[in-house]
Amino acid sequence: MTSFLQNIVNALQWGSFYALIALGYSMVYGVLMLFNFAHGDIFMVGAYIGFFVSTGLVALSALGALTLPSWLILTLTIIVAMFLTSFVGMLVERIGYRPLRGAPRASAAITGLMIGIILETGNLALLGAQRVSFPALIESVTYNIGGVFVTNKKVLIVVVSLLLMFALHQFVQRTKWGMAMRAMAVDFVVVPLMGVPLNTIAALTFALGSGLAAAAGILFGVAYPVLDPYMGILFGWKAFVAAILGGRGSILGAALAGFLLGFIEIFVAAIFPSTLRDLIAYSIILLILTFRPHGFFGEAYSAKLRL
């Protein structure tokens, strides 16, 4: 029982990363019907920007230029990195997606994929092959709750992720911009004719998703402090599976599917030999998709693919 609860705690943390990344995929897919294959690498870029910001702040504190408590450094890091990474997202949209608005959707997916490779290689070329380690901003404290070990980092990660998801939900449901995004998700041909600026909404969608990916990257850095340029690939592709599993454009669905993916992976690894993790986890997902081909919250739609 305790090991079960322990796994739930671990899965919540692991699922938070998937959920935050999946949200970015899901929004781009929902609003623009496009795959953003650069998203995993935007997560990586976010983690690296977070690394630079936090290292800079820690160095400034150490020099005595400004005295900041470490929780404030972390908060500042998350905010600044989310802000900066959202510009990376907008840049990706501007370069790789906007010029291809009238083109087949797959072409835009390919440019996204290629921008992702450029981001990885560019990082490798700029920073060299050695991995960087994320500064330890918060002291790890372990609580023992009835035999289940919960670290303050895990609590922090899950709470921050849930807060961000809630904020996103509020943004999409309550603001005018969010309404425009939802309208675009229904029909991105007619809605722009009603005076909704397509380019602005597209950039906003990419910016929001990238900001969340950056947050995921920093939280990942807090939990697993070693960063490398290729960390985004596998995370990105798996979160992509989660995003579509959640249903087209459904924020709740993407978040739930992200957590579900985390749960499946952690529990499979706990019960079976860990080498079987991907095999069993993705077989389960294949089964789910066989019976619910539109994901959890996706509506059955017959989209005419533009190729």
């Binding site: 795959f35 095999l279 294949l286 998709l289 066989t290 989209a303």
Partner: protein
């Protein structure tokens, strides 16, 4: 303002006119002439290549048209250019131009017999040139074989992503299935192996039964494709993309857990049967069969399903069956390519069939062009040569190639040569004017 634009456009026009003038003598050269020219050039390289390379200051024959040498040591640029000019450009140009009258006659004569005779002569000439070219170094041989395999892979992915208009991510998985199945087949039947024991059949039979191994690999991956096809073709939409992605993860993980196939360490001791002629024959065969497939009724119904599924259904196309058959057909060829790949490298491990391979294959398809056999060939050859030629740049190779592909996507969103049909008869016919055309020209004069 207007004048200056006029001037510049006139200047550009002048250049293109001049280029066109320079090219004009060559417009009458048939394909046969070019192939003959290439054959002469590679024969020349074999005869005098090494001394000539020494003469222009190179230590040995430039293996890949001098790209690698020039990128490593830019000082050698003039020598390399001279070598390329003397060995390749000059002989090809001369033979093609001077022999044009003869080759046109020959091509016309060949076309009087059935088309396949002419096609075989052309393919034979091509093979002779490639064989001699690859004879110079093992590196050329390897690059050539891998490029030919890449052609099969690109064609196979193009069936799904181009002709069918879906987005498949599972092709590395099919390739892995084919590679492991074919390897297991040859190792169990023909090779003395630690895991599988002594061969079940005399190894001397092996090279003759090797096609069976490849077909076995193809069939296994076509069966694996059912796992993707059954759930994803029930509905329309992008579900193929993730179901196939999940399938890729499953296959990779499955192979990693099969200790009998080497697990994560990989599987080796495949016999060396995938030599250049074998790979070449399989590649030409796949081009021929896939070209026939996509221009058959089934191939056309694939296009119909892509363009408008409802309408296709109303026109009595069995959409589900069409998609399943198309997908499995593609998976079969990916499996065959995988089997060839395993026997070329003589070692496979699950890591070589991951996301990286997927990105590479997608790049080849979209670089060359969707919905086009020629496009696939151009994409595979171009991408492979480029990635070998840029190898000295190391890291920056993976910035230049993606940038190039982004540019291709921005200016030609469906690839360089998309939606073009491959007309063999037109390709092989002589390039001189037919008699009616000549008479018509005289009459109008």
């Amino acid at each position: 303002m207007a004048e200056s634009t006029n001037n510049s456009s006139a200047g550009r026009k002048g250049l293109s006119v001049r280029l066109g003038k320079a090219w004009e003598p060559f417009t009458k050269v048939p394909l046969l002439g070019w192939l003959l020219g290439i054959l002469v050039a590679v024969a020349l390289e074999q005869l005098v290549g090494t001394p000539l390379a020494h003469l222009v200051g190179l230590s040995k024959i430039p293996v890949l048209f001098g790209f690698v040498i020039v990128l490593k040591q830019p000082v050698l640029l003039p020598g390399t250019l001279l070598y390329i000019l003397l060995i390749y450009l000059l002989p090809v140009g001369l033979v093609a131009r001077l022999g044009a009258a003869l080759t046109n006659k020959l091509a016309a004569r060949l076309l009087q017999s059935p088309l396949w005779v002419s096609a075989i002569v052309h393919v034979g000439l091509l093979y002779a040139s490639l064989h001699m070219w690859a004879d110079i170094s093992d590196y050329r041989d390897l690059v050539l074989r891998l490029t030919l395999i890449a052609i099969i892979l690109t064609l196979s992915l193009n069936i799904v992503n181009g002709y069918m208009g879906e987005f498949s991510c599972s092709h590395p998985g099919f390739m892995a299935l084919g590679a492991y199945a074919a390897s297991a087949f040859t190792v169990i039947f023909f090779v003395e192996d630690k895991v599988f024991g002594s061969p079940l059949l005399p190894p001397a039979l092996g090279p003759f039964l090797f096609p069976l191994a490849l077909i076995f690999g193809g069939v296994i991956s076509a069966l694996g494709a059912l796992l993707v096809a059954i759930p994803s073709f029930r509905t329309r939409g992008d579900y193929l993309a993730i179901i196939s992605l999940a399938f890729l993860f499953i296959v990779k993980s499955l192979i990693e857990n099969l200790e009998i196939l080497g697990g994560p360490r990989g599987f080796m001791s495949q016999p060396d049967w995938a030599n250049l002629p074998t790979v070449f024959i399989w590649c030409m065969g796949s081009i021929w069969i896939i070209n026939n497939f996509v221009s058959s009724t089934l191939g056309k119904s694939l296009n119909a399903v892509r363009d408008e599924e409802t309408a296709a259904n109303a026109m009595t196309v069995n959409t589900r069956r069409t998609k399943m058959v198309g997908f499995q057909f593609a998976a079969f060829w990916a499996g065959v390519a995988g089997g060839l790949f395993a026997h070329v490298m003589r070692y496979v491990n699950p890591g070589s069939f991951g996301i990286q391979k997927l990105a590479e294959m997608l790049a080849m398809v979209y670089f060359g062009g969707l919905n086009s056999v020629v496009g696939s060939i151009v994409g595979a050859v171009g991408f492979n040569l480029l990635s070998e030629a840029l190898r000295p740049l190391e890291l920056f190779k993976w910035i230049i190639i993606p940038l190039l592909l982004i540019l291709v996507m921005l200016y030609r969103p469906t690839g360089l040569i998309a939606f073009r049909e491959f007309d063999i008869a037109n390709l092989l016919k002589p390039k001189r004017k037919s008699e009616e055309e000549v008479e018509h020209a005289i009459a109008t004069d």
